[in-house]
Symmetry: C2
Subunit: 302 residues, 2 copies
């Protein structure tokens, strides 16, 4: 089992969906990722929180055996996000963002983290992603996420980061935006040309797909009867995906396929409840049972 | 191998997509279905054409060993459709419909067709679908298609038809419209409650899925680099799906899964060129090779 490092945001989220609302609950890319990935492998977090981040919040990490040495507490308040989802909940409307301590975040990788073999650069400013990546030259696999905000505002910096990673996890709309092409297959190839040899595209309820060399692999979306809150689905997907790779320490094509399915499994749990709710009380058997369900939903010629 | 009957439209289509245009080419649900399905099993067509439907058009059917005894030639012109696709080509804009001989179409099932075991009721007026269905009480599997036009204008008649069939093939938007629910899984169940025990939902570039009892099976969409013309994709899907079932005469779950994949295979060929172009020059090996590609794109744990 290899260790897995994540850098990303820790936040207090307030959100509303057609199925309810939540006020100031723990969220952020590093939170969703690390809680999810910790079911698979030891996780190390790099991030920043404010003075309002108390013991109760910290316990979410420490009780899950997540290494928080890289979690800096800075003067001020924790990053806050407020948003809502309407209709089919395919896209969040951001109502308010308070960067707070995140504004001057300069990620520091503790020396005890330097041997991390699997690295996930969550969706933060591309130069910060690059800064972390450069401190981990020994990593076996470095993956990053990004979003429309950076694609539009820091295209050059984002390209520099992409050129330095092995894998990108990106949603479909953003893959089209980044590549400038509508066609999925050509969009993936255009992104591979920017650096990452593996491209993972998240397609919301339609599942996810993986492009590597000439291989294309699709996992369906899990057909939930009700999605309560899509917040964190993408980072939980990444947590399952990278978690499986770190646990298996196997980068073969078969392992990458299974990683895509574990990512889909964890995303499907994430959206069942608000915030980290469902993810904090999963049994390993539940994860494996849903993995098997994916097999029964996707395999034919049986 | 069992015989397969289709009732539907035969048309002259004129269309435009971002990749080209065509004027007055042979189309219609029965044409796409029967040409596609004829790669799998003997096909019998029930439909109507006008006096402008000449030997050259008829040869498209007869050279593919399609039985045209049920193809009536009526005074007047053949049904004509004009439409266009923009952007991602997910939906056609109908610019003009000339019903012509189709206006007074009263489908007649020749006595030689009465032993048909597999039946596809193409997207026509629901009472006509029912009329054909009732003449084929011995059929092993009766499937139907429908569209928003009938869902909105003949909801009661459509329900009566749905109550008399075993399987419905419907696109995702229409499944939501018919069921009155956004959620895919609940939409499928609501449609099953109307009668068809098997529900097949087409999701365009996102593939297709099948619901039967508690089974859910997903096939991905084939990742083409370029879609030239989506016209007929749905009927070609149905042709591959029903064609496989008629060829195998096997309604087991495994066979239904393979049918969904053969449907996806044939739809992917249909959209590669305008009209019936690509479908008229397929080699059986090409069909099998693409079937294998679907397996390599969807299977994991390998």
């Amino acid at each position: 089992m290899s260790s897995l490092l994540v850098v990303g945001s820790l936040a207090f989220d307030s959100g509303q969906t057609p199925y309810g609302k939540a006020e100031g609950i723990l969220g952020g890319s590093a939170s969703f990722f690390s809680v999810t990935a910790s079911y698979f492998a030891p996780v190390r977090v790099v991030g920043v929180v404010g003075e309002d981040f108390d013991t109760e919040h910290l316990q979410v990490f420490t009780s899950g055996s997540i290494d928080v040495e890289g979690l800096e507490q800075a003067p001020g308040r924790t990053f806050r996000w407020r948003g809502e989802y309407d209709g089919d909940m395919s896209e969040a409307q951001t109502l308010e963002t308070q960067l707070n301590v995140f504004e001057h975040f300069a990620p520091k990788v503790p020396s005890s983290y330097l041997d991390s073999q699997f690295v996930f650069l969550g969706n933060i400013d591309p130069p910060l992603q690059l800064h972390v990546r450069e401190q981990l030259p020994k990593a076996k696999l470095v993956a990053c996420d990004t979003m429309n905000y950076w694609i539009n505002r820091k295209p050059e910096e984002l390209r520099t980061t992409l050129a330095a990673v092995d894998l990108v996890v990106i949603n479909e709309v953003e893959a089209r935006m980044l590549s400038g092409t509508e066609n999925l297959r050509r969009a993936a190839r255009a992104i591979q040309d920017l650096g990452p040899r593996i491209v993972v595209i998240k397609r919301g309820e339609y599942g996810a797909c993986l492009f590597k060399d000439s291989t294309i692999f699709f996992a369906p979306g899990y057909p939930l009867e009700q999605v309560h809150d899509p917040t964190g689905a993408g980072d939980s997907f990444a947590g399952g995906f990278m978690g499986h790779l770190a646990r298996s320490a196997d980068l073969s094509e078969g392992s990458l396929r299974r990683a895509l399915v574990y990512g889909s499994v964890m995303a499907s749990f994430a959206v069942e409840e608000f915030g980290l709710g469902r993810l904090l009380r999963l049994a390993p058997e539940e994860i494996e049972a849903r993995f098997s369900e994916f097999k029964s939903m996707a395999h034919f010629d049986v």
